[in-house]
Subunit: 116 residues, 2 copies
């Protein structure tokens, strides 16, 4: 875990510290899957406020923290905004094909349940 000496530098696991079971946990929630899907198709990083999730602001913050602490997203401050990027390089290096199969499953389920 990178040490967050500055309160504005957020702690992240290094690539070596990322664990499959933790990544699966981070992905095991509909709101977090929605965030990951949006980040996967975004051109660049997206701020937390970009996401209009049907949950409270504190729950949204919680979801982003779970994604960050388990190695799925990288969060950096830009001014007062927290910017989020998918750690695709790290995840693809550690678990080839996993992220793409999860993203495919997200799309498929959205179509099946009619809530894409």
């Amino acid at each position: 875990m990178t040490t967050a000496t500055d309160a504005r530098v957020l702690a992240h696991p290094t690539r070596d510290e990322i664990r499959l079971e933790n990544v699966l946990h981070a992905l095991s929630d509909p709101m977090r899957l929605r965030v990951v899907r949006d980040l996967a198709t975004a051109e660049g990083d997206l701020s937390c406020s970009y996401f209009d999730l049907p949950v409270t602001k504190s729950t949204t913050t919680h979801h982003f923290r779970v994604l960050r602490e388990n190695g799925v997203v990288r969060q950096v401050y830009q001014g007062t905004a927290k910017m989020n990027g998918l750690r695709r390089d790290d995840l693809d290096a550690l678990f080839p094909g996993l992220l793409d199969s999860v993203l495919g499953a997200v799309e498929r389920q959205a179509q099946r349940l009619g809530d894409s």
Copy 2:
């Protein structure tokens, strides 16, 4: 969910009721990943007692229940033994490639961490 009128018939979600986020939750634990890995390579169903997990018996029972209730394994009684089988057909139909990518990631992580 199939109704368990007989206490010895265990409740399972139907294929339509299986949700991606629940499957990922069921897989987000090292013990449950170990069970799924063993079931994936087994010739047939395996009894709960086949698995010698380094946890208590009640925790083992809990792990199997999580796997069953989220649609990852099918459990049936044979005499006094609970037999477990991976619901590969259902999972592959709903989320093509997902199970195989998780199983590949399990192997890769075991090799990386030297605990295969």
